[in-house]
């Protein structure tokens, strides 16, 4: 019996988190699927798919000591893996401007209403503490078309943010 789990770990960043977490999984006989790991502020977040044939309790037992030692929260969720079925993004959206509350909510609401399905989103706050700059990058599939998406997001620029919608032309060769 083989099961897939979505494993999330988060906590204060320090060197060695990825090596210790993935080392513990390897020693426990687990396989990794797709993963995403990143530093956010002074913190580190891990989102990974792990396969085990020993069940959730064994997986948790393998990770718990490492999570505790590193001071990370740990959560497991059984999932349907759906590997090898990547939807291809056909649009990317870049938003930047002075940081203010609600940018992500406004952009993603308008985009969702225009048919966007988000495949990947990352946002960052740059600039200084006095003058923060917000940068948002989204990739997804535009079920209603790229032009419709551009039109839907255009009005948001009146609020002083810059919104760019570009098609992703994937070359297959």
């Amino acid at each position: 019996m083989s099961d897939w789990f979505m494993v999330t770990l988060a906590g204060k960043d320090r060197p060695g988190i990825v090596a210790q977490v993935t080392g513990a999984l390897y020693e426990a006989g687990c396989n990794l699927g797709e993963t995403s790991m990143m530093r956010l502020g002074g913190n580190f977040g891990v989102l990974l798919m792990a396969q085990t044939d020993k069940g959730a309790a064994e997986l948790e037992a393998a990770l718990r000591p490492v999570a505790d030692e590193l001071g990370l929260s740990l959560h497991l969720e059984p999932v349907d893996p759906q590997l090898h079925r990547h939807p291809e993004p056909d649009v990317c959206i870049t938003v930047h401007g002075a940081d203010r509350a609600g940018i992500v909510a406004q952009v993603t609401r308008a985009a969702a209403d225009a048919g966007l399905n988000i495949l990947d989103l990352e946002s960052d706050i740059g600039g200084t503490e006095d003058e923060p700059v917000y940068v948002l990058h989204i990739e997804g599939t535009a079920a209603g078309g790229v032009d419709a998406l551009r039109q839907a997001l255009e009005p948001l620029q009146a609020g002083g943010i810059k919104v760019e919608v570009r098609p992703i032309d994937t070359l297959i060769g």
């Binding site: 990547h86 990352e122 070359l171």
Partner: protein, 166 residues
Amino acid sequence: MPVLKILTYPDERLRQVSAPVERFDERLLERIADLEETRLDGPAAVGIAAPQVGWFERVVIVDVSGRKNTPNHGRLVLVNPEIVDWEGYVVGREGCLSVPDYTGNVIRAERIRLQAQDPDGRHREFDMEGFEARAVQHELDHLDGLLFLDRLVSRRRDLFRRKTYR
């Protein structure tokens, strides 16, 4: 004409350097026809290189003429192609018949000058840009045993990896 089997990564044969074509004969034309049929059989590929079907000679086919607003030279069969000049660079998303279910960002020259022979051995020269130039660079890499995986830059950020291209 048969549709040929596409070699897929990590098949080591994709890593070999292909040899120049020396004989421009009927057999070459037949193999080119099979290569084109194989390209058209797959999922919307704008190009294919001979080594992708286990034919290790310097032949590629590129055709971006089916795309809207894309400058192009029509369907190009390029034998012994060589990029002799290039200018600018641009990041774009690529996938490959030989690498199913994965796409990634790759930096390519924006404009290139290309010399090649046609299937009858005549020497040709092309100036090309944009998507067509990208397709040619992708296919020519196959002739030298390179895949777009060798040139990946970050998918999440347009940061350029500090790597010296081979």
